[in-house]
Symmetry: C2
Subunit: 432 residues, 2 copies
């Protein structure tokens, strides 16, 4: 059946296909991240992509609603696609807390959807990657999150990155002290959060719309500090620095090198629900924004339960991390996984090719057999396109003599060896 109505093979803006090379890189990055999460004892959970809109809207109200993919299902139910992993996590904890280990540590890596305007690096379908500890207020959990974040970026091969930290408690204490009314503090923090985007001047201008000039100048003088973490703490002694102080001490005891940890009193984070330590991670030598961010929150589960659970967690920006690794050429050696191609010479020699293919596979080597008795050049081209390192040539001449020719696709060199030595030959290549 020839189809005359050809459908244009297009996809929606803000969504992506991932082809093999890119997927190999993404799988590599994900495995590196997961191995650290597991080293820290985080267990994986998964939640449905599609939930009742009411559930997903809980936290964000109208602002979230605009970005939600929301629709009626065939049964007329008001449903939506997952917007983030935090609200579903709160729902899972509220439903299952009596059966979960407490404190509960989980990671989740999955797709989320936002009906946002697509732009460079901003997608409508993208991957989120979260860790959270819920059920304890002890600063050891903030320390663990910081150490896990450090270990993730180290394990990915980054050497220059900064984990910026601050405390919402400290910000509140500074703002109280400088005479900013409690009702205005959330707005002040939201403006502070734009510092990277609009600079000191922009922040000053916006803040002066809601606070006295003098107060704004005091806020910025107090918060925009240079020097070591200890210097900054010394300068902020009259405010509530206990939490930051304790946290930095615990991080140093946990052997987190201080050079990776920058106390930044102006770090604010945009979201309302943070209550304690907050984090943002930046990769140096890239123009990419924060690649990881989060903090302590105290009331998320109260959407779904009368029980109170305090938690702390961060979200890793998976797509940004992949982009940063590409920029810094940390993915150059990540390739496809096929290692050996066995040629298909002709019908008569096919049985031998199939046997050799089985033998190499049984030896644990990722081995393909070519599908057709095509010209060798075509089979070599296939091997090159798939980044295959060795081609095993078994033509009629070789087979007659129980020999086999191995072509190294990188060097172009060929070697003929007895068939019986084949598996051993490849076992010599520890990193095939």
């Amino acid at each position: 059946m020839k189809n005359n109505n050809i459908i244009e093979p297009k996809i929606l803006k803000g969504t992506r296909d991932f082809l093999p090379e890119e997927m190999a890189q993404r799988n590599f990055v994900q495995q590196k991240i997961v191995s650290v999460f597991e080293r820290f004892g985080y267990d994986s959970i998964d939640t449905p992509a599609i939930e009742y809109a009411e559930t997903l809207l809980g936290k964000y109200g109208d602002e979230g609603s605009k970005q939600l993919y929301r629709f009626k299902d065939n049964g007329g139910r008001d449903v939506a696609l997952r917007f983030d992993q935090t609200v579903p996590f709160a729902r899972v904890v509220a439903t299952n807390y009596s059966n979960l280990p407490m404190p509960f540590k989980r990671y989740q890596i999955s797709k989320v959807w936002r009906a946002d305007k697509p732009a460079k690096g901003r997608y409508r379908e993208f991957t989120q990657c979260d860790i959270d500890v819920i059920g304890t207020k002890n600063l050891v959990s903030e320390t663990e999150i910081a150490k896990a974040v450090y270990s993730v970026f180290k394990n990915l091969g980054f050497n220059k990155f900064i984990i910026k930290i601050n405390s919402r408690r400290l910000i509140n204490s500074i703002l109280d002290n400088l005479g900013v009314e409690q009702t205005k503090q959330v707005s002040v923090m939201r403006i502070l959060d734009k510092l990277n985007k609009i600079g000191k001047e922009g922040v000053t201008k916006e803040m002066e719309e809601i606070c006295d000039k003098k107060i704004v100048s005091n806020i910025l003088d107090t918060m925009l500090l240079n020097g070591s973490n200890q210097n900054k703490l010394d300068k902020l002694k009259k405010y509530d620095i206990q939490e930051v102080n304790d946290f930095l001490y615990l991080c140093s005891q946990a052997q987190l090198p201080e050079t990776f940890l920058e106390f930044d009193p102006s770090l604010a984070r945009g979201l309302d629900y943070y209550t304690g330590i907050i984090y943002e991670v930046y990769i140096q030598d890239t123009e990419i924004g924060a690649v990881c961010a989060g903090g302590r929150y105290d009331n998320l589960c109260s959407l779904f339960s009368k029980e109170e659970f305090s938690g702390v967690g961060v979200a890793f920006g998976f797509d940004r991390i992949v982009l940063a690794m590409e920029t810094l050429k940390l993915l150059n050696n990540v390739g496809l996984t096929s290692e050996v191609l066995v040629t298909y010479f002709d019908k008569e020699s096919l049985a031998s090719s199939l046997k050799i293919w089985d033998e190499l596979q049984t030896a644990g080597i990722n081995t393909e057999i070519y599908f057709e008795p095509a010209k060798l050049q075509k089979q070599f081209a296939y091997a090159n396109k798939k980044q295959i390192k060795f081609v095993v040539i078994c033509g009629p001449d070789e087979i007659k003599q129980n020999m086999i020719t191995i072509k190294n696709m990188k060097t172009g060199k060929q070697k003929t060896i007895p068939q019986s030595q084949l598996s051993n030959y490849f076992n010599g290549y520890t990193n095939l």
Copy 2:
């Protein structure tokens, strides 16, 4: 902010949360499957969960439309959630074939959504797991798919399973020969496909509605055969058995044990688009239906392109495979990944605990630190709930003497050793 309006934490029927134990099993199964796919040189791709409805509807027409999660996005576009991985794959090939290695081999493991009636083992959101070879008509690709299927089930630990195979070409040849008009052949195959569900009597009854009694009886006498694959081939000599014959020969040359491969001339598969060899896999000693199925198709890409690509592939029923493995107790040893818990005794000893935690992590051991100076019993209970094998107790007495106590949570036995021997102690456990 205490929230007074508590949202009932419910999820939609036919969707599921996966908690850590279940996720550990699913991750284990997925890794086992992927490792075989990669051994055979299949590369991973990913496509958007959300696409233009027109694209996704291409193949299924009205039947698919009922089961599609279809809606208007915020821009008024007619979109839908991925229904299977085959149509998106055809779209990807049509768009990218000039840049892809050809033949192109890919695997995809992702969620799909169907607005189906939820039932035991039937979900609205579930995982599909496909391999396909596209761009060759050579039977070596059918052979490779069969070998990959065999290797997947072997690698998952199954010892008793049957890969049933047949050929659409053979069915057509039998039906032609027995006088079934071409226009009725698809309907006859659809009825044949119900053999497992409604039995020989049911099939006879349904078939007699469209064919003569005598023809129906001839069809069933011809197709319902016992004996070895060779016996069956011998009995069907006058029909077009070339393809099945060649395929079985290639499978034997590729060392696929014949006991796992059953030629079943009555195997038909429901979908219209198959044109050659078809497969269905059953696990013995379970009541679960086919756990894997597929076949040769010739025109899928014609929906999106004037180029013709013949392909062959199978879909593994991920959820059914997990269920079969549970039934056969093949997942009993799969657990959470945390290995060691370091206790938090009191504030004074915390620094030591943090250092020990870092030391074990640096040695590559999945190690947690408890978050609070809780009673040891509580920390042990946490370890048990997380299936942690060893607890490292560093109380004030131990620390003073540079000693450490290790409790084996399985045996309950404790041992006190010098702190300096700690990493070495665990390195002794190769399978911690």
